[in-house]
Symmetry: C3
Subunit: 395 residues, 3 copies
């Protein structure tokens, strides 16, 4: 709440400046088609409107979803061809170049995903208010249209905090090249996408500190399409704590992990940590996450610990192999997830993907083969092979 | 129905004129950002497209909703931070400057709110067809983004007829300055927002006569942001009658007041009256409504009468106080609602609000404190204090 | 699947061409209002964005829906006034003039109707991927805003395959004027609009061959608004086969015909044929469809056959009658539907419509009178008269 009020007072300080602005003299507008779609920009850059659509087509066999339990392996056999995502994205700024807005609507499911206002006046201190993907995990934060694999790893279901409603401050502090940091600190209702009220008085608190080791903020992108001339790396540590009725979050809002169903308001205290790395150089890209999640059931007085990590790398191999086609990237990922460290159950995923970038991430064809393995607590094992093709087009 | 057919014949009269129009010669277009958002206007003004988004963020404690019954006082304690409204507004005209269209979509709840066509060829006779907020009560008709307080009064739940589907004629008759009137007369299905069929053959009939006392139609606006140099006032009398299964209406469509649940088709005949005033001068603004509503239950053969009124005033005090900040308005409201005049139950609301207009109603920060009091029919009393902060941004 | 992969390889062949394209030099854009709404087009025509809204208002008495069974005749009496359709249509092309996209959203029901990408590089070979109205029946394929009558015939409910998700190739083969054909061949999941997974491994296969008798592809349009100077005709034969849990499809997705409820996955094999004709000349237009549909219930081992046809004609009579108003069309339709050829039940519809084209199909007022007749298998008969008025406006 203090944070919330600080936002307000910040705005009030800016108020008279804004109020006295004149928007009456209106020179010609610029129309453009850029990386974020169609643009209308006023000549003085006080106003910007961007409109972009995105369609993602997917074919998957034997089925599309990641297996979660032993019983999911091998039995479900319904090949999917579907429009997996159909998005309308509208963003820009109004009144001032630093007063930004953005909203994103999923047309297929009629869900409002993002809606946020960003006051980005200084590099080192910005404020965001609304609903968006919390910057807790790299793979979730990267847009589904800009992924290196067809979709996120098996870790995502258990560890993402997904979209939340709240307020956040963030910025970049770059001192000497060695002391270059990005920070994020936010307060959220902690009840997930699309909720209107908090379940109790407990909020979600989130922080992330990212060290830009070599002096460049890599942002939330995958694949080194810009072919970095120098090696660039970041290391980030994130933490989040929340008390609510939910044990996981997704685009559908709050939900439940296997074994933690139908929570009462405030039943679950969740504490999570994530250590993240990313690296790019000359067409090669690397990223990893290492997760720990603690679920404290306040009614049963029990604590469960979840752990997991993934390692992912991709290469635009034409950088070193002459005959390799320029638009083709090869990428691999290994994920390891333990749903309960007190038991021996382990899920593994190993994936190989090929991306053909017709026009960067905006027009991309991906093929992916994944091998899933499970070892249950009573030493049973099972595996499954999955093949997916995906076309992602922004326009 | 007669009304409906008169609309049709009117259009047919206009038909050949429209048909012969040429849209082939197409001079350059004007792009603009105006009070209704981004605009594309053809040089001959035959075509206009406007796109505007609006986000409303709200924090409320101890909770956001107005108390309705004795039991609502003091027990519910779930502070809300939420995106209260997320709107997409598209309007303009096509083929002719007087053939206007408008639709508004609530992105958060995926509801189509307004969709209407307006034939506004003459000042004194216009036709509207579609779905919109009936012009019955001033506070409901004023856009949620242009309110003087954080939201509408405790009267709104019981007395608004909200959005309806139908046909309406309206216009302004200004004779001598003293005989200056606006009128509205409409026929609606009377089943609320989003319905596809009438429940029975009974329709809703609505009329409003507004006397522009000083010769200016103040419109449905609040706060005197244009700092009127002369005092301006209006007085309006509205009436509406409807027979349906519902006893109240809201953005969610037809609903029920406490004690009138689950109506059969045509069970309730509702008769309503509203006497409205508004006044502005030099940064000061006033408005009031005085309501009477009769619910006749055709099955139980019983009649219930509801009464209520509110008084509301605001002042941009920099007009008389030197040190007062220019963008700051102070506003107060007192509301009094009796859900059944046969009993002694009375609900009261007294609110104090401060608005900081960064950019008029399009970028506005509001803080509000409200005191609610209830006296039940058996002379029990309860009260509650509520605090709300709201940021409303159009872009 | 082979088809699907052929699409992919096709795209890969085009890839390097696309990739090397430069979109950096950006000359002025053209803004326009055309037959598909507002347009933004880049000077080199690499990018096009179109936005169009459409509202359709309808009044119907004694009610709006077509009677289906004997009991529907005469008993339901709820006159409807409603916004029948409220559409947002966005289309254009991106990166290349031949890489087209289109999506259409129903705002009133919050449904994503169309979303498709079309690769239309050559006249004789095009590829479409996504969700759209399969080109199986003429009357369904024609946009609801461009119909000659107020709505489709009584055949539509039983025989349309409506919107499906899948992949299709199509094109035009025009040899000598006599050997001028259009073809369509598609594979779909066969589970209707908005589904995410197939119910089983059986797909829907569709083909259509259209002979452009006189050398012009008439397209999916009704009414001869362009006043053809020479007579033009097409004949088309379509066939579709599908196995799923459904026996009919509509905008709401998969559904059931009377007597075929609650299917299991893969319970029904459906085989359908349609022989279609269309003809236009000097303001006169003709179209017809002749349908046969076979429903094979794999669980009950029973087969049901449905048959039906309609004949429809319209005339802009000012072409031969001097005093006839130019924007006025008169149109008639006769439909005959037998839900089960093993029984004697027959439904008939005879309709007379008048269309006033303010601005072609984009601003059109229609009035229609329909007579429905039913003869049941035990020789009972019933009839019903219906009157409808509709205003359809695109902007």
């Amino acid at each position: 709440l203090v944070l919330f009020l600080s936002v307000l007072s910040f705005d009030i300080l800016q108020a008279q400046g804004i109020h006295n602005d004149s928007t009456e003299n209106k020179p010609p507008w610029h129309i453009n088609y850029g990386s974020k779609g169609f643009e209308l920009r006023s000549n003085n850059n006080a106003y910007l409107l961007r409109i972009q659509g995105r369609l993602q087509f997917r074919f998957a066999t034997p089925n599309d979803s990641d297996p979660v339990t032993f019983n999911d392996f091998g039995y479900d056999n319904t090949p999917a061809f579907k429009i997996n995502r159909a998005r309308l994205k509208v963003g820009g700024h109004a009144y001032q170049p630093w007063l930004k807005y953005y909203w994103e609507y999923e047309l297929g499911r009629s869900n409002l995903l993002d809606f946020r206002i960003m006051v980005e006046r200084w590099k080192w201190f910005n404020v965001k208010i609304g609903q968006w993907k919390v910057e807790f995990t790299r793979e979730r934060r990267i847009s589904s249209g800009s992924q290196q694999m067809v979709d996120r790893s098996i870790l995502n279901r258990a560890f993402t905090v997904d979209r939340q409603q709240g307020v956040e401050i963030y910025g970049r502090l770059d001192g000497a090249s060695i002391a270059d940091f990005n920070y994020w600190a936010g307060v959220f209702t902690g009840t997930g996408r699309g909720t209107q009220e908090n379940d109790d008085k407990n909020l979600m608190y989130f922080g992330r500190l990212q060290w830009n080791v070599t002096g460049e903020n890599l942002g939330f992108k995958s694949s080194d399409l810009s072919l970095h001339k120098t090696p660039e790396a970041i290391i980030a540590l994130s933490a989040v704590t929340n008390r609510s009725s939910f044990t996981r979050f997704s685009s559908s809002g709050g939900g439940y992990l296997q074994g933690f169903e139908n929570g009462e308001p405030g039943q679950y205290r969740i504490n999570q940590m994530n250590l993240e790395t990313a690296f790019v150089y000359s067409g090669f890209s690397w990223q990893s996450e290492l997760h720990k999640k603690e679920i404290i059931d306040k009614q049963k007085n029990s604590t469960t610990t979840l752990k997991g990590f993934y390692l992912q790398a991709g290469y635009l191999a034409h950088q070193s192999i002459k005959w390799w086609p320029e638009p083709l990237e090869i990428a691999v990922r290994y994920s390891n997830y333990r749903p309960n460290t007190g038991l021996n159950t382990t899920l593994e995923e190993a994936s190989l993907a090929m991306n053909w970038f017709f026009k960067g991430h905006r027009n991309k064809l991906s093929m992916e083969v994944s091998q899933f393995d499970i070892q249950t607590s009573d030493y049973q094992t099972a595996d499954e092979l999955r093949f997916r093709v995906q076309w992602d087009l922004s326009f």
